[in-house]
């Protein structure tokens, strides 16, 4: 009877995955990395969750913590993924059970209920969304720039992050187009 490793929440694997890019970050740095990458297509966990998650992963032997300085002067703690961590993560990555993406779109939700507000409100809603979409797109654009280009061998290790960032940028672009269309549609049948 083999002991199946217990399934962790996706966020745990996400953090574990962020530990496979080389250096041994502190919890604080890991949170920053999550804000830079994860946040665009997964929820970036709160600072406090990063720490508790690292605690759990450590208990399970999937990461090893190392104190930055010995004894009573400890300033910070660096985390490294263990061999077991890599194994469990690979296993999870290979699982075909990838769920469908879940979207929580408050703007679509409010637009759905447009019959309850004045037309001007719906227009303003979409216009505001368009603005925040542009901000987001620029933020992700900056991240994308930092990932180099496919031809450059120095950036080979960012090949997949690059693909995902391009995916996100494409999403923002198509979202932008569609929202413009919807604004047009609102205008055209303002009776």
């Amino acid at each position: 009877m083999r002991q199946e490793p217990p399934d962790l929440p996706t966020t745990s694997y996400a953090l574990l995955g962020l530990l496979t890019f080389g250096d041994d970050p502190t919890g604080y740095e890991l949170k920053q990395r999550a804000d830079n990458t994860l946040r665009f297509y997964w929820a970036s966990p709160a600072m406090s969750q990063v720490y508790s998650e690292l605690g759990r992963l450590s208990d399970l032997g999937l990461v090893r913590a190392r104190d930055d300085a010995p004894a009573p002067v400890r300033r910070s703690r660096r985390y490294r993924i263990t061999a077991k961590g890599r194994r469990d993560l690979s296993r999870w990555l290979r699982e075909p059970s990838s769920e469908f993406p879940s979207l929580k779109h408050p703007v679509a939700l409010r637009l759905l209920l447009g019959h309850l507000v004045e037309p001007e409100q719906s227009r303003a809603l979409l216009q505001d969304y368009l603005d925040s979409l542009d901000v987001r797109r620029q933020e992700l654009g900056a991240v994308r720039e930092s990932l180099g280009e496919d031809q450059d061998p120095a950036f080979e290790r960012y090949r997949f992050p690059r693909m995902v960032a391009d995916w996100g940028l494409d999403y923002y672009a198509s979202e932008r187009r569609m929202v413009m269309d919807l604004l047009e549609r609102l205008r055209s049948n303002l009776r």
Copy 2:
């Protein structure tokens, strides 16, 4: 000193919103409606949550419950939004504080970690996603068909649901295009 109405979670307002389309559904029917519409751009709550949410809304006076048959033979309970419910919902709809959509995209997350698996795995991941995307698109397509057309006055009340459904369909289409691109990109630099 005026008593501010306490802010409810978005899901409460979403359910409240689904009660503004006329009939007085049971909890069970409301759940079905959520599965038909809400699910494509907001999480459809579990059956048990629908009931507890309706309990809360009832306590707050935002909906009124009516037993289907009197006394000891009650079979089901129908819910109707109250005037206060409509007021609170309108207030919420007008709030400019619309947060940015939050996406949880397990496929993008796994692709990001492509350096940990064989190229074939990433290809299979995207291919599977493409398949489930098509299923989803067809499901939403069926919903869209039931909402009629802009010109038809009989379907005037579905004007906004129609826009949102079209938005969703456009999203699925662009997602499909991009995933095909990514598959091509995977193929083209399989070293």
